[in-house]
Structure formats: structure tokens, C-alpha cells
């Protein structure tokens, strides 16, 4: 099962998203966005184990602004 990054602007948004996904029974953790993906600088990512499309609407509906997604290499 691959890992995928959902990039957000801040650690606050990342923690909120992680907690939201976990409360919906999904596995998620956070880490700083790798610099080669981080065009805005100092961003955080929520790492998920399913296709980001499956969870993005859940995050957006809670007011989390998604900056981008990427497969973990």
C-alpha cells in the first residue's frame, strides 16, 4: 500500500486534517513537506495510505486548504 502526501500550508491545518481523518477511521500522520515538493516553503503534509481523492472532500469540507498532492517516492 503506497503512501501519498496531501500538502497543506501549516502544521495547524496538518494536525486538524490528521485528527479528522483518524476520527473517520483512516490512517494518517503528518510531516514537513519535502523541499522538492514545497513551492510555498515551510509547508506540512498529511500522509495517507489511500488515494488522496478519497479523502480530499472530507478535508475541504472542514475548511482545510489543500495546496497539492503527491505520491511518496
Amino acid at each position: 500500500m503506497g503512501q501519498h502526501l496531501i500538502m497543506v500550508s501549516s502544521i495547524t491545518q496538518a494536525i486538524k486534517g490528521r485528527d479528522l481523518l483518524r476520527s473517520n477511521g483512516k490512517k494518517a500522520y503528518i510531516e514537513k513537506t519535502p523541499s522538492h515538493l514545497d513551492t510555498h516553503g515551510c509547508g506540512y503534509s498529511i500522509i495517507v495510505y489511500e488515494q488522496p481523492e478519497n479523502v480530499i472532500s472530507l478535508l475541504k469540507n472542514s475548511g482545510i486548504r489543500i495546496i497539492g498532492t503527491s505520491d511518496r517516492i
Partner: protein, 382 residues
């Protein structure tokens, strides 16, 4: 020491708060969320959990609208200076602290005016009528204190909030004296911006304030590093970081979290009942002293603090005398000249006593005995 200056800042702080602050200094001394290492992330988690607790305590719509500030005054400045523009008119009350009046006065030079409604310290219905007579079609915002820091008078916040919602007027509340002592429900009270002194009723360390927002987001008055979107030269738009430039007071924030746990365990109603009981005890005992003037007639529906003067003595003299007996009170104008003009005490100020959850009946009895002694001696002098 008998500490009765809790309206200025609560003392002592609960052991729980002291432990949380110490723990943060020892184990969480890292810039929250900035660096990506575990200590930095753990510090950020403390901030996030604290925001959630604050949002829950005041029934705010979300945790991101909880902004950590240095104090309640800063929170008020963020709201007023970030939202108001030339031509706006503001309505405020006659019992405001300088935290509200000075920024409003400073904004006059930018073409922003304010109107003042008279607070009847013993009749909230009259106060609300006065408010309705002052607010107009051109009012953009109402900002007022929830509880006077001089008389303890509660303003009819819920009614004012409902009116503002109906008319589309922004509503900001200075809850410096009420947060943690009187239940506040932002949604139910129609509050768009709640400004809190966390070092008072939330028992956090000094240097901690909160701005809790549910209304339109103000422009920033401070810009800088937020640890987010660092490649962007413009201030980030996401809350809460938009308003938290520079390194935050993490030990203080850990103290806020522990302070909220403290008041939740005790119960806000229990704390208030305890403090009101003490204020009533003080009122009853003080009112028997000849030559005393008390600046309120009853204490059931007020914030737990009390102001008085002794005939022939300046309030500072009385406070100095009490200090000699190791009783800490506040005297003077309490940064609220508007309120003192209303009370007729602008020249002499008042002596204010304000208990906390830690104050005992014995503290009040001893203090009122000292006041009686000071009064009798003053008669001998004057």
C-alpha cells in the same frame, strides 16, 4: 499576603499551571511547527490542543479562529485597527477600559468616530435602552466590555449581540474580567470577536491573551515570519498563523491549556458562586463601616469585584495602608477614566478588591477588619 487584586491578574496560579509552564520550558523549548523535528511538532500539538480547548470553552466555531496574543489589549487592537476604515462609526459603553478607549481615540485621526452609550450600573434594561438610542444606521461595529473592571457591572451582552446580528453590525466583546468566571457562549451571545486576558480568569501566566474570531477576518497590523508559506512575501491568509507572526509564547500557551483544565475541573459556576459569596461578605461587612462609599448596590448579577472609598482618604492611601498589613488591592483609576467620570471618582479613584478561586472567607474578614481600622484612624486624623 492576602491577594485581592485578581482583576489585574490572578495569583496564585494553580499548581497545574505552574507544572505545565515548567514542563513546556524543560521539554518543549522548540519553535512550534517551524522546524519539523519531534520537539517542534510536540510544541505545535500543545498549541493546537489549546486552541481546541479555548474554542470549546467559548463555543467558538473552530479552533483556527483562536489566536494567541500577548494580552487582551493587543486582541482589541487587532480587531479595531484591522477592521475599521475611514468613515466608520463605532458604538461603545461608558464603562470601557483604556484598552478600548485609547485605540478608538487614536483612530479618530483616520476619520473613524465613536459614540458612547451610558451604562446604568444597577439596571441593565436601562443600559440596553441607552444602547438602542445610541446605535444608528451608520454603526459598523459595537465594542464593549462584558464586565466593568471598576464596578463589576455586567452589560447586556446577549441582547446587544442579538441586535447586532439582526442589523448586520460587527460585535466585539472585551471579556478581560469575565472569561473564566462567567460563562460565555459566542454563538448564543452573537459575538464576532471575543478578546480575553488569559492571565486573569483562565489562570494562565501573564503575557497571555486570546482573540477568538467568528466574524470577517481583520487585516493584519503585524506581519512577519509565521513558519508557513515562507517563499511568499505577502502575509499568509490561513488562520491562525496570519495573526501569529514571530515566535509565540509556548510556555504561556501551555499555561492556558492547564488553566482551562483547572477551571473546567472546578466548574465556572462554582468559581463564580464562590467569588460572589466572598464579594457579598465583603460588601456586607464594609457597608457597616462609617464613612465608606461602596460603588454598587447589589452583587447577584455582577462580576466578582467591588470598589469603595473612605471619606477623607485618597484611594492610594487606603491601598498603601492595606499593603502595610500585607493585603494587595488595586487603587486609582484602574485604566478606566470613563467609568470613574461616571462614578464621580475621576479625582480620587477607588479601592478595588477582587477575589479568585483561591481566596478564603478568612481573607475577606481580615481585610474588612483592616479597612475598618484604617477608617477609624482616618477619622482621628481628618
Amino acid at each position: 499576603m492576602i491577594y485581592l487584586d485578581n482583576a489585574a491578574t490572578t495569583s496564585p496560579k494553580p499548581q497545574k499551571v505552574i507544572r505545565a509552564v515548567t514542563n513546556a520550558l524543560v521539554y518543549l523549548s522548540a519553535n512550534p511547527g517551524r522546524s519539523g523535528h519531534s520537539t517542534s511538532e510536540n510544541a505545535a500539538i500543545v498549541m493546537y490542543e489549546t486552541r481546541n480547548k479555548v474554542a470549546k470553552l467559548f463555543n467558538a466555531p473552530n479552533a483556527e479562529g483562536v489566536i494567541f496574543t500577548p494580552n487582551c489589549t493587543a486582541s482589541i487592537n487587532y480587531v479595531l485597527k484591522g477592521l475599521l476604515k475611514r468613515g466608520d462609526r463605532i458604538v461603545t459603553s461608558s464603562l470601557e477600559h483604556n484598552a478600548v478607549i485609547r485605540p478608538l481615540t487614536a483612530l479618530k485621526k483616520y476619520g473613524i468616530g465613536f459614540d458612547v452609550f451610558e451604562v446604568d450600573i444597577d439596571n441593565s434594561e436601562t443600559t440596553f435602552k441607552n444602547f438602542l438610542n445610541t446605535v444608528g444606521n451608520d454603526t459598523r461595529m459595537v465594542i464593549c466590555t462584558h464586565a466593568s473592571n471598576v464596578t463589576g457591572t455586567l452589560l447586556p451582552i446577549k441582547k446587544i449581540g442579538a441586535y447586532c446580528k439582526e442589523k448586520g453590525i460587527l460585535f466585539a466583546v472585551d471579556a478581560a474580567q469575565s472569561a473564566g468566571v462567567i460563562p460565555i457562549d459566542m454563538k448564543e451571545m452573537g459575538i464576532d470577536y471575543l478578546c480575553v486576558a488569559a492571565h486573569k480568569g483562565l489562570y494562565a501566566p501573564m503575557g497571555t491573551g486570546l482573540l477568538i474570531m467568528s466574524g470577517p477576518t481583520p487585516a493584519t497590523i503585524i506581519e512577519g515570519g509565521t513558519g508557513t508559506e515562507s517563499a511568499n512575501l505577502n502575509q499568509p491568509i490561513d488562520l491562525p498563523e496570519k495573526y501569529e507572526s514571530g515566535t509565540v509564547n509556548l510556555p504561556g500557551i501551555a499555561g492556558i491549556r492547564a488553566g482551562i483544565d483547572f477551571i473546567n475541573e472546578k466548574g465556572i459556576d462554582r468559581i463564580r458562586n464562590h467569588e460572589i459569596k466572598l464579594i457579598k461578605l465583603a460588601y456586607n461587612r464594609l457597608s457597616k463601616i462609617s464613612g465608606i462609599r461602596l460603588y454598587s448596590s447589589q452583587y447577584d448579577d455582577k462580576a466578582p469585584l467591588l470598589s469603595f472609598n473612605l471619606n477623607g482618604m485618597n484611594s492610594i492611601q487606603v491601598a498603601n495602608e492595606l499593603n502595610r498589613h500585607s493585603v494587595a488591592v488595586r487603587a486609582g483609576l484602574h485604566c478606566a477614566p470613563f467609568a470613574h467620570k461616571r462614578l464621580g471618582t475621576i479625582d480620587c479613584g477607588t479601592v478595588r478588591i477582587s477575589p479568585s478561586a483561591f481566596t478564603s472567607e478568612a481573607d475577606i474578614i481580615k481585610t474588612t477588619e483592616y479597612v475598618a481600622n484604617i477608617a477609624s484612624k482616618s477619622k482621628a486624623i481628618f
